[in-house]
Subunit: 219 residues, 2 copies
């Protein structure tokens, strides 16, 4: 599903040469989406960056949109792998924010989340693309929810707000921060927020020691 899911014309060959070309195009697409955005990710721009003929995009992927989706698949897979490995090391709630901060910076460096943002924003240009992108974002929500359950499952807040709803806002905030950070090139505001969030998590951890079950609104 990852490589041929949305494709209609993808050659079914198992040739090594073909795989190399496809990989080069996917890599170039990621870089182009990051640097030039969705509207700058043309078949010509992508293939030129890879040093390949422009027609190869259509031979190997059928259309530019299919190549963009293949790139989104590659990014999603790589990110989910990294996220999962990171979250596996986390046991306490106080740890999660420092890990999250590290990952956020890594995402800024690689530009992977920019690729996601560009695909979401660009989805409205092509009929049907929105649904394809939405499908590929699904795992991000479930990952966020699992991470929340694992780290805040026994926190009093978990009783107030369903983790699925919070996961939605976490993803939204992450995308929004990425977008704003990428816009003005200054990552300080976002990093400040991560620092504040870490403080809040620690504070909540301390509070939950005093109020293990329900908020202290009772008589």
């Amino acid at each position: 599903m990852a490589k041929a899911g949305a494709a209609s014309k993808v050659a079914a060959s198992g040739t090594k040469k073909s795989a190399t070309t496809r990989q080069a195009l996917v890599d170039s697409t990621i870089a182009t989406l990051r640097d030039e955005g969705f509207s700058g990710a043309s078949a010509r721009a992508i293939s030129e960056r890879a040093g390949l003929n422009q027609g190869l995009v259509f031979y190997h992927f059928g259309s530019v949109v299919n190549l963009l989706l293949a790139a989104l698949d590659a990014v999603s897979e790589a990110r989910m792998e990294k996220y999962s490995a990171a979250i596996a090391q986390v046991s306490s709630a106080s740890e999660i924010m420092s890990i999250a901060t590290q990952i956020f910076q890594d995402d800024l460096d690689t530009g992977y989340v920019t690729v996601l943002v560009e695909m979401i924003a660009g989805a409205s240009s092509t009929p049907g693309l929105g649904a394809e992108v939405a499908t590929r974002i699904g795992p991000w929500f479930t990952f966020a929810k699992d991470a929340l359950d694992k780290t805040f499952g026994d926190s009093p807040i978990a009783a107030l707000m369903p983790s699925g709803d919070v996961a939605y806002s976490v993803v939204a905030l992450y995308l929004g921060l990425e977008m704003l950070t990428h816009l003005n090139g200054d990552r300080e505001p976002a990093l400040k927020l991560f620092a504040h969030a870490q403080q809040m998590v620690v504070l909540l951890g301390a509070l939950s020691a005093f109020a293990p079950t329900v908020p202290p609104a009772s008589t």
Copy 2:
């Protein structure tokens, strides 16, 4: 019939005609950005939607990018007016979330924030556009900060996190929610979050009644 007599208004009527055309192009640009996204907002698509000749974009605005920025200006102005009027009616912290929820839905209906998102995401395609967009987003941060100061200024949280930093995340979250909502067409998840946030605000208001006053460092 000499022109001189009746033509005393020729210059003025000409100016008015120009203003009408410009306005039609700006309106069409907003609609096109909303429906087709940044990459779909070409001079041809915009002018065709307005029923005008494609060349008028370049006569009146010089370039497509300039027209896009003019549309962003129009949206920003309209939104800031609406936001300011709404916040003026708010005095208590418990009110702000219901007002915010209303405005969020209004933004979804009009597609105004989609225009902003598309411009941010599309900014990377054209050198120098990012800075222009960033300048136009500035007022959104100051508005969010003022709203936070007005409604949560005497809350204990204000002492924990600077309102400017929180404002940054509020804008980021707002953009992210808009983006995700626009992607899958389902506004329920976002509305749930606003409902949860309202509960939290009410809860915090109750808590601050028990907590001793922690005055933020006043200048």
